[in-house]
C-alpha cells in the first residue's frame, strides 16, 4: 500500500502539468538532504534517514569513479560552497559511520 499517502498532493501536482519527471538522484539529493528543517510532532530521527544514506553510500562508494580519478575538488573548499549548507550529508555521515564503527569505504 505504498500509494496510500499523498493522494491529494499528487492530484495537485498533476493539475499543474509541468516538465518531464526529474531524475531520481536529483530528487533524492534535494528532498532528503536539503530544504529547511523544522521539528514536527512525528520526528524522522536523523539516524533513520542516515541509515538509509549509509546503505546507499556503502552500496556505491567503491564504484565512485570520480573519486578514484582524484577529482574531489568540491570537498574541503568552503569558498566553492558559498551556500549556508556547511553541515552537509558528508559530515553527518562521517560522524555516524565512526559512531557505528563503520569504516568509510572510499578512504576518507
Amino acid at each position: 500500500m505504498s500509494s496510500s499517502g499523498f493522494g491529494g498532493a499528487r492530484s495537485l501536482a498533476e493539475r499543474s502539468g509541468g516538465p518531464a519527471p526529474a531524475q531520481l538522484a536529483d530528487v533524492l539529493e534535494r528532498v532528503l538532504d536539503k530544504g529547511i528543517v523544522i521539528a514536527g510532532d512525528i520526528q524522522i530521527n536523523l539516524l533513520d534517514i542516515e541509515l538509509l544514506t549509509i546503505r546507499l553510500r556503502l552500496l556505491v562508494a567503491s564504484a565512485d569513479k570520480a573519486r578514484e580519478m582524484g577529482i574531489d575538488w568540491w570537498e574541503g573548499d568552503p569558498f566553492l560552497s558559498r551556500g549556508r549548507n556547511g553541515k552537509g550529508l558528508e559530515d553527518r555521515l562521517r560522524r555516524l559511520e565512526s559512531a557505528a564503527g563503520l569504516e568509510s569505504e572510499d578512504g576518507e
Partner: protein
C-alpha cells in the same frame, strides 16, 4: 480535502506567503501558509516510517510526490521547501510552527522571491576517452612506453578535468545570487557510466540568462569531452537554510 477515518497526521511540504494562490491543502497563520496533506499514521507514524525510509520504492514514490507538490506550488508563488518527512499531529501544531518560525520563514520567502534554483551537472563524456586511445604498439618496448605514457596522461587528464570543473563552477557562481557545489552523484544513482565532475546548484534571478551562460560554457568545453546537463528550475531546496533545527 479527503476524509480519513484512521489516525491522521499532517505532512508539511513547504511554506508560502498567505493568502496563498493554491486551491487546496493550505493552512494559513498570519502572513504565512503551510502546504499540507493528511497522511495515515499507519504509514507515516514513527515506527512505520523507520521501515519505509529504507524501502527504496516507497522512498522514491514519496520523495517524488514531495517534489511534485513543491514544483507545482513554485509555479504560483515563492516557496520555502521543507525537508522530507515533516509531520504534525494536528493543524493547530502546524499553525504554532508557522508562528514560532515566522521571522525565519518570512526572510527565507523574501530571499527566494522571483528566483529559481538551477542544477548544473558536468560529465566526462565517454567519447573523449575513445578519441585518446592510441594505435596498437608493434614492439614490447613501444608497448611499455605507451603504458607509461598513458598513465601520465591519465593523471594529467584528471587534474585538468578537476580544474575545468572548478572553473566552470566559479564562472556560474559569478552569475548567481548564491551557489553550492554538491558532491557528485554516484553512478548507481545516475545510471550513467561516465563520472560526474560537477554537481552544482545555483540560485538565479534570470533562468534564461543563466542557461545561456551554461550553454556558452558547454560550447567552450565540448572539445575537451565535457558534457553539461542543466536541470530545473527547482524549488529553492539548496538555498533556504542550514538545516539547523530550533
Amino acid at each position: 480535502m479527503s476524509a480519513v477515518a484512521e489516525a491522521t497526521g499532517w505532512y508539511v511540504f513547504g511554506v508560502v506567503a498567505s493568502p496563498a494562490p493554491m486551491p487546496a491543502g493550505v493552512v494559513a497563520e498570519g502572513s504565512l501558509a503551510a502546504l499540507v496533506e493528511p497522511v495515515s499514521l499507519a504509514e507515516f507514524g514513527r515506527e512505520a516510517l523507520v521501515e519505509r525510509l529504507n524501502d527504496r520504492e516507497w522512498l522514491e514514490t514519496h520523495a517524488r510526490a514531495h517534489q511534485d507538490v513543491l514544483q507545482a506550488a513554485c509555479a504560483a508563488a515563492p516557496v520555502v521547501p521543507l525537508r522530507f518527512g515533516t509531520i504534525f499531529d494536528d493543524l493547530e501544531d502546524v499553525r504554532a510552527m508557522l508562528r514560532s518560525r515566522r521571522h525565519e520563514l518570512e526572510a527565507a520567502l523574501e530571499y527566494v522571491r522571483g528566483r529559481v534554483e538551477i542544477g548544473v551537472k558536468a560529465w566526462v563524456a565517454p567519447a573523449s576517452a575513445e578519441a585518446r586511445r592510441p594505435a596498437a604498439p608493434v614492439t614490447g618496448r613501444a608497448y611499455l612506453e605507451q603504458r607509461l605514457g598513458a598513465r601520465v596522461q591519465a593523471e594529467e587528464a584528471s587534474a585538468a578535468l578537476a580544474e575545468v570543473a572548478r572553473a566552470a563552477h566559479e564562472r556560474l557562481l559569478a552569475c548567481s545570487v548564491e551557489a553550492v557545489a554538491n558532491r557528485p552523484q554516484p553512478r548507481e544513482l545516475t545510471g550513467r557510466d561516465e563520472p560526474m565532475i560537477l554537481n552544482g546548484a545555483y540560485l538565479v534571478d534570470d533562468a534564461d540568462a543563466f542557461r545561456a551562460e551554461v550553454a556558452a560554457l558547454a560550447a567552450g568545453c565540448a572539445a575537451r569531452g565535457i558534457d553539461f546537463e542543466v536541470t530545473g528550475p527547482w524549488p529553492p531546496y539548496n538555498f533556504v537554510g542550514d538545516g539547523v533545527a530550533p
